[in-house]
């Protein structure tokens, strides 16, 4: 069964782009358009990896991550930050990797492959 990547980003254009790449690389996807809805989606979809934007209108990335990491069941799901903020490395230190938009597609897929296969 294909591994599932969850995309969290408030920009629908970017969600579509990430879905395109991940599908083409053989992954399944699910999505949340805001940090506030994300935890419910995680519980329902049980993704293998999450890509996380930082600046979102309702709840921003780091707060979602804190909630996620406290979750007993899903707390260990690997997270990759993809954000327009420069210096986003420091926002979530336990993230597997941090990418600044616009990101390098091949590099992103490489990191995902190394993390979940």
């Amino acid at each position: 069964m294909a591994k599932k990547i969850m995309i969290i980003d408030d920009d629908p254009n970017i969600v579509t782009y990430l879905e395109d790449i991940f599908h083409d690389a053989g992954y399944a996807t699910c999505k949340a358009m805001d940090g506030a809805d994300a935890l419910a989606v995680v519980n329902q979809e049980k993704p293998d990896l999450i890509t996380l934007d930082l600046e979102m209108p309702k709840e921003w990335g780091p707060r979602f991550y804190r909630e996620l990491s406290q979750d007993k069941v899903h707390g260990s799901i690997p997270v990759i930050v993809i954000s327009g903020l420069a210096g986003n490395k420091y926002a979530i230190q336990k993230a597997v990797a941090s990418f600044t938009k616009p990101f390098d597609r091949a590099e992103l897929l490489k990191v995902i492959k190394e993390t979940i296969g």
């Binding site: 920009d11 254009n13 970017i14 579509t16 782009y17 990430l18 395109d20 790449i21 083409d24 600046e55 327009g84 903020l85 420069a86 600044t100 938009k101 616009p102 990101f103 597609r105």
Partner: protein, 509 residues
């Protein structure tokens, strides 16, 4: 008088050697160092001894005159005392006229000779002292002149102020830009204030005797604003008391302007960079679909990709254009517009906000309307900004029952004026002077300090002016005047642009 002279060299010239020796002996007793000479070797002896005093005994009048003249012309500084035959008063006067300092009748008494020599020495000393004084005076004069010149020509405003903050002296540069304001108070002249400025450096220097530094915005007599760096230093009297303080103000407007522009550009780029990064990523997404559609010969996917690319390119384009506006490389997009519908458009933007706050919004059109040339986007943004400020001024004002904002458009054949009048809280003079500066905001966190700066900027780009008339508690009137036809040369020639900038800061209260 000298009772005893210490080793004053002296030459005695006498045809009668015996006579000369007697004189020499007497003068030696009085501390002189006499050297004897006859008429023949007189000049040579004076040349060797270089005395200040020469005693010349006269036997032969003609020869005596000759020797006296030679000594005068070779050694003009030498004082000559002539001993003339008894009763030869006229001869004595002749010698005086030729430059001798004194004459005595022969046979000369010891006392008479001593007195004459003493007087000659005294006169010499007075003369020498006089010369030293003259030389000192000259140095003093030239250093005074130098000080004056430095004071006047130094490229700063210098004012000397007394304890009342009244200007007691000022340099040329100061007089040029602020007028000869002797006796007026510093804060009246520089800032049109009625009270001293807070943290006045001059006051601090009066209190602690130290130098103090501040940065101030001052207004020249032509209404031009300057950012100055002020430095105050104490001036003390002979008892060490600080009686006056010197204030030196250096114009740093250009540096500040550059700094403002860089800061604004930095802030702006910072604020849009997140958005631009998102757009670029979405652009990548569109391209990805386009490429995939082409590769898979899936036309609908390619078309979808293309559509995304187009949308993103147009968003990025707008952001870049905005950025260019801030970096001043943008040319105004001048269009010919209908004055009435342009005015209606501006008013429609603001009217709902006014109505919502129960403020009566009045729109009036007078005079020649017709058409005019302007960049509708930037000018309407500027006018909307001023109108929104007017609405805010009414909202903030709690002293009146009813408020209004009037937007009046008045046209002549040459110009169109947009007048924005309100009966809100009004603007004090100090704020009026600063309000066109970048990032100056009187609204705290509600304002960015960009609005009026940009409004001012675009009006100048159009060769127009903004003026403001306001009374605290009564209301404000902004007047934006624009030429109906844009004069190209006006905004192209830098100097002219600067002139229009100056006039725009002129505020009438």
């Amino acid at each position: 008088m000298h009772d005893f002279v210490v080793s004053e060299p002296l030459v005695i010239i006498a045809q009668d050697a015996g006579h000369g020796k007697v004189l020499a002996r007497i003068l030696t007793e009085h501390g002189y160092q006499p050297a004897n000479a006859d008429y023949g070797d007189a000049l040579a002896t004076v040349g060797v001894v270089r005395p200040r005093l020469v005693v010349l005994g006269i036997c032969d009048c003609m020869q005596g005159h000759e020797v006296a003249q030679k000594i005068h012309s070779a050694f003009p500084e030498v004082r000559l005392i002539v001993l003339v035959p008894e009763g030869e008063y006229r001869m004595g006067l002749d010698f005086l006229e030729e430059g001798a300092s004194d004459f005595l009748f022969k046979p000369v008494s010891e006392r008479a000779l001593r007195v004459a020599l003493d007087r000659a020495l005294n006169a010499l000393e007075v003369k020498e002292e006089n010369e030293v004084l003259k030389a000192k005076n000259k140095i003093l004069e030239s250093s005074q002149q130098l000080c004056r010149q430095l004071f006047d020509e130094v490229p700063c405003y210098i004012s000397v102020q007394n304890k009342d903050r009244r200007i007691v002296r000022s340099n040329r540069q100061f007089k040029l830009d602020f007028g000869a304001c002797l006796g007026e108070r510093c804060y009246e002249v520089y800032k049109h204030r009625t009270h001293p400025c807070p943290n006045c450096p001059v006051e601090q220097t009066f209190n602690d005797g130290l130098m103090h530094q501040t940065e101030e915005v001052v207004t020249t007599r032509t209404g031009q604003q300057k950012v100055v760096l002020t430095l105050s230093a104490p001036l003390r009297d002979e008892n060490g008391e600080i009686t006056e303080v010197m204030e030196l103000a250096t114009d740093i407007s250009q540096i500040r302007e550059l700094q403002d522009r860089l800061t604004s550009l930095g802030l702006f780029i910072g604020s849009i960079s997140h958005g631009v990064r998102g757009m670029l990523t979405a652009l990548d997404g569109g391209l990805y679909r386009l490429e995939k559609g082409i590769a898979n010969q899936d036309l609908s996917m390619a078309a979808d990709g293309m559509e995304r690319v187009k949308v993103m390119i147009s968003r990025i384009r707008n952001s870049v254009l905005e950025m260019l506006y801030y970096s001043k490389d943008r040319d105004p997009n001048i269009q010919t517009v209908d004055v009435q519908s342009f005015g209606d458009g501006v008013a429609n933007f603001v009217e709902p906000k006014a109505t919502k706050h129960d403020i009566r919004f009045q729109k009036e059109f007078h005079g020649v309307l017709g058409q005019m040339d302007l960049d509708p986007e930037t000018i309407s943004a500027g006018l909307v900004n001023i109108l929104e400020n007017a609405v805010d001024a009414c909202i903030e004002d709690e002293s009146k029952e009813r408020h209004f904002v009037a937007f009046i458009v008045e046209g002549t054949h040459e110009r169109v004026s947009f007048i924005i009048r309100d009966n809100g809280m009004g603007i004090d003079r100090a704020t009026q002077e600063k309000m066109f500066s970048l990032f100056f905001s009187s609204k705290g966190s509600k304002g960015t300090g960009l609005g009026l700066y940009i409004a001012n900027d675009v009006v100048h780009q159009h060769g127009g002016t903004i003026s403001v008339d306001s009374k605290v508690g009564q209301g404000t009137e902004f007047r934006v005047e624009l030429p109906r036809k844009r004069v190209r040369s006006l905004q192209q020639a830098d100097g002219m642009q600067e002139d229009s900038l100056h006039s725009a800061h002129t505020s009438q209260v």
